[in-house]
Amino acid sequence: MKIKEIKLYGFKSFPGETKIVLDRGITAFVGPNGSGKSNIFDALRWVFGEQSMKALRCERIEDLIYVSPVPKDDANFTEISITVDNEDFFPQFGGEFEIKRKFYRSGESEFYLNRVRCRLQDIQALFLNSGTLTYSFLELSEIEKIIQGNTKEMFDDVS
C-alpha cells in the first residue's frame, strides 16, 4: 500500500487546493521555518482519523481551517483527501481507494471512503485502530515519551 496523492483544501496554511503526488521510496519535504511542512504531517494524521487537538497542534478544531490576513478570504471548510494505491492491505477496496475528511466552520464533519459517505469509526477501524498506523508518525517531541518507556501502545497493535 502507498499514498499516491494528497489533496489539501483550506487546511491550516494552505489556502486553496494543493495537490501532492507521492511515490514509493523516500520523499523529503524541505523549506523555511513556518512554511507549512509540519502542517502536511498534521493533515495526514487528521485524515487517518486523529482526534486529539494536542497532536494536531491546535486549541479547537476550527483552527484547522485556513485563516487569511483578510477575513473575507478565510476558507469556510477544510478538506483532506488521499488516494491510496492498495495491493496488500485492504483487498476489499480494490486496487485504489480514496479517503476524504471534511470539516465546515459551521461545525459539521464529513467522512468519505471511495466517495461514499461513512463514519469516522470506519476510517479509524481501517487505520488508527487496526494497528496499521500506530507507529507510522514520529516527531522529535515524542522521542522522550518512547525513551521513558511509553512503548506499550506501539506493541498493542503489533500483536
Binding site: 523516500i26 523529503a28 504531517f41 514520529l138 522529535l140 522521542i143 518507556g149 506493541f155
Partner: protein
C-alpha cells in the same frame, strides 16, 4: 492473544538489539516487561548497555543518543510488522553527521517495503531522498508546494 504477543515481543526484542548495535557500533539494547506474568497489560521498559561502559542509566544518554535509541525501536517494529507508511518530522535534527549517514542508510532499507516521508533541514538527508518537495510562502501566510531538485531550492532561498 497472549502467545501471539509474546512471540512478536521476542522478535522485536531481537531486531531492536540488532539495529541498536549497528547505530552504536556495539552494545546491547533490551526490552523488559515490568510484569512478565501478565504480558498483555504489562509496561514495556527499555534497558541499554553501551559498549565499553558499565553504566546502564538511560537518563545520562545524550540528546543524539536518545534519538537513535528511539529510532532503533521504531525500525525494529517495522522490521517485525511492516506498516505501509512512515512519516518523520525533523528526527535527524539532533544527530551528528556520521549518525545522519547511518540513519539515512536505515531509511533506505526501510523504504524497500514502506513508503517513507521525511521533513528535514539537513542537506545530507535531502540528498538521500528519491523525491524532494520544497515548501515556500510566496504570499505571506500561504503555503505552496513546489517539486524541486536540490539545486533549484538553493535558488529559491538565496540565503539558505
Amino acid at each position: 492473544a497472549r502467545e501471539r504477543f509474546v512471540a512478536i515481543f521476542d522478535e522485536v526484542k531481537k531486531e531492536f538489539n540488532f539495529v541498536f548495535s549497528k547505530f552504536f557500533e556495539g552494545g546491547q539494547a533490551d526490552l523488559v516487561l515490568s510484569d512478565p506474568s501478565n504480558p498483555l497489560t504489562s509496561k514495556v521498559d527499555i534497558a541499554v548497555r553501551m559498549k565499553g561502559k558499565r553504566l546502564k542509566v538511560i537518563n545520562q544518554l545524550s540528546g543524539g543518543e536518545r534519538t537513535l535509541l528511539a529510532v532503533s525501536l521504531l525500525l525494529a517494529l517495522y522490521l517485525v510488522k511492516p506498516a505501509p507508511f512512515c512519516i518523520l518530522d525533523e528526527i535527524d535534527a539532533p544527530l551528528d553527521d556520521a549518525n545522519v549517514v547511518r540513519f539515512n542508510k536505515f531509511l533506505r532499507d526501510l523504504s524497500q517495503r514502506t513508503q517513507v516521508v521525511i521533513i528535514t533541514h539537513n542537506r545530507a538527508t535531502m540528498e538521500y531522498a528519491d523525491y524532494l518537495y520544497g515548501l515556500t510562502m510566496e504570499k505571506r501566510g500561504q503555503s505552496k508546494v513546489i517539486s524541486a531538485k536540490l539545486a533549484d531550492l538553493e535558488k529559491l532561498n538565496p540565503d539558505a
